[in-house]
Symmetry: C2
């Protein structure tokens, strides 16, 4: 690669918060807290007005954008925007890949995740969050069979073929953050504010983020110029939707390997397929790719971290070019 | 500014996680959770092995670095690395300022904050976190007097002069994340791993991050080439420290205005000053700047967000140049 190609001419790197509502907490007893070790404790009143349901968005704007619209990268459940950055085994991720392709890239942390912060529960957020462990990730994300997991990475036996850098599973586990169930409406509301703020855009959504992207695209179909859904975690509610609204949004879906090993993914793959077939019957522009059927085998749920992540990014870029969204 | 000066030639933007230990949770009852609305609930076993105490680090590496060492920006308590990005009122922050000055910049999220994630409590993390509200930030960060706060931004009466963009306090509040008391040792351990990984570096630490930077610099004095402490939240434990170790690390301290309005800051300013006087008496290279004494009045605790944030960055850069750390 020549030096000119290796450099990235950046106009600005920055961030902002979007969405959020005021929430009032009352009736809790005061508590005493030592904020600085060695200093006397201070009295804290846990009651008052808090902001809740905001999300965090980081952008990298190029000096010469070659893509038609900003590219929004929306992560999945239990992780943050770090999903799109360096892979667990240290290779440049999709944020860099699409910057190099000439897109302005917006990487966000959904409501409750990462830099978006989270709120007191059960007073503001519902119930309690859950925490993901490496063992669960191993099977749920289809890195290997349940019985192939071991706490010691040397003892792990992944699926063969397996493209996720499975020796770096513990690095992936460091990127896990707690997640709630029941905050979906807050997340979608903040994502809607994001799209409203950006205007015309292309959304890449992974897993739960794919489902969110779909929902938001249907609400803001004038702004969302394309949807790229990487193993979306579910389908949105299409009830009452007119077909023109759908046909305006070209949609690409990508699926990895070993889906049949996890009932959740087997069922989701089937359910999303049915929804897409119905959309296509209404005239929607839907491109469905099962990677194994193209001879690309061994991909995990984290397509953008697998050892062929650049190849898959190139496939996405080619699709965007075919739809006039990139050059 | 010419176009060439406005562009930033970036080699790579990326991130990694560092630090962290394995923690085992046992004896908790299983729970049932609906991960995807509309899908049947799944049984979750909350017991098992989790990673805890890791931190998140994002880097921007330039193609032509003009500074001697990477610059590490460490945020304060109850916030994340977003502190260093765009200011609450939308101006480029210190991440951009020091990139433009030619530094490779590493912005991190400390243990328990932002993209670093957090762990189940009280099983892994101690006690429960606390949540900061705008009202508390208004007075603690010296934006205005307690009685000058109002929930409606139009009703707020800040200190005069006041350089924090006080009409954007609600935007600042969206960047607050819960914080614990009692996780300091975990945070320092992860920061130590970070410095070990980076090697020679200059650390800019704000508030609690300044205190952490000081502690880590004393442990890894061979790597830390300079310390820039913005209103550090306290002093490290100097017991048993040899003066040579300190004298090797040039240190700049910066303080804003209205310190006397908050007992915590008045006492901390005094306590840190005493520690610095003792260090200077041992031959350490300590530069102490009370901004009001230079005629720069009205700065809040968030110096890097105030309306003269570029001016203060320039002051820091000039000090680094004077110490041979930048050009």
């Amino acid at each position: 690669m020549t030096k000119a190609a290796a450099d990235l001419a950046v106009a600005e790197i920055g961030s902002f918060f979007v969405g959020g509502v005021q929430a009032v907490v009352s009736g809790l007893p005061p508590r005493s807290l030592t904020l600085v070790p060695g200093s006397p404790p201070v009295d804290i009143d846990p009651n008052g007005r808090f902001v809740a349901g905001q999300m965090y968005v980081q952008f990298v704007r190029l000096t010469e954008r070659r893509a038609a619209h900003p590219l929004l990268l929306w992560h999945g459940g239990g992780v943050t925007g770090a999903t799109w950055e360096t892979t667990p085994d240290g290779r440049p991720g999709w944020q860099m890949a699409f910057l190099r392709y000439g897109h302005d890239v917006y990487v966000s942390d959904a409501v409750e995740r990462g830099r978006a912060g989270w709120s007191r529960y059960p007073e503001i957020f519902p119930g309690e969050p859950f925490f993901r462990q490496a063992r669960e990730a191993w099977s749920l994300f289809r890195i290997g069979p349940t019985e192939g997991y071991a706490d010691d990475e040397l003892g792990r036996r992944p699926f063969v073929p397996q493209r996720f850098p499975h020796h770096a599973l513990d690095a992936l586990a460091k990127s896990f953050v707690p997640r709630w169930s029941g905050t979906e409406a807050l997340a979608v509301a903040a994502y809607e504010r994001l799209v409203e703020r950006i205007g015309s855009c292309v959304i890449v959504g992974h897993s739960q983020g794919g489902q969110f992207a779909w929902q938001v695209a249907l609400r803001r179909h004038g702004d969302v110029r394309a949807l790229i859904l990487l193993e979306p975690g579910g389908v949105p509610d299409f009830d009452g939707l007119d077909s023109e609204r759908i046909a305006n949004i070209p949609t690409l879906l990508l699926w990895g390997d070993h889906l049949e090993t996890v009932p959740f993914w087997a069922a989701t793959h089937r359910r999303v397929r049915e929804a897409c077939d119905a959309l296509a019957a209404q005239g929607a522009d839907v491109t469905w790719i099962d990677l194994p059927q193209r001879g690309i085998t061994g991909n995990s749920h984290f397509l953008m971290m697998d050892d062929n992540s650049d190849e898959i990014a190139a496939l996405v870029q080619a699709w965007m070019i075919s739809r006039g969204l990139a050059t």
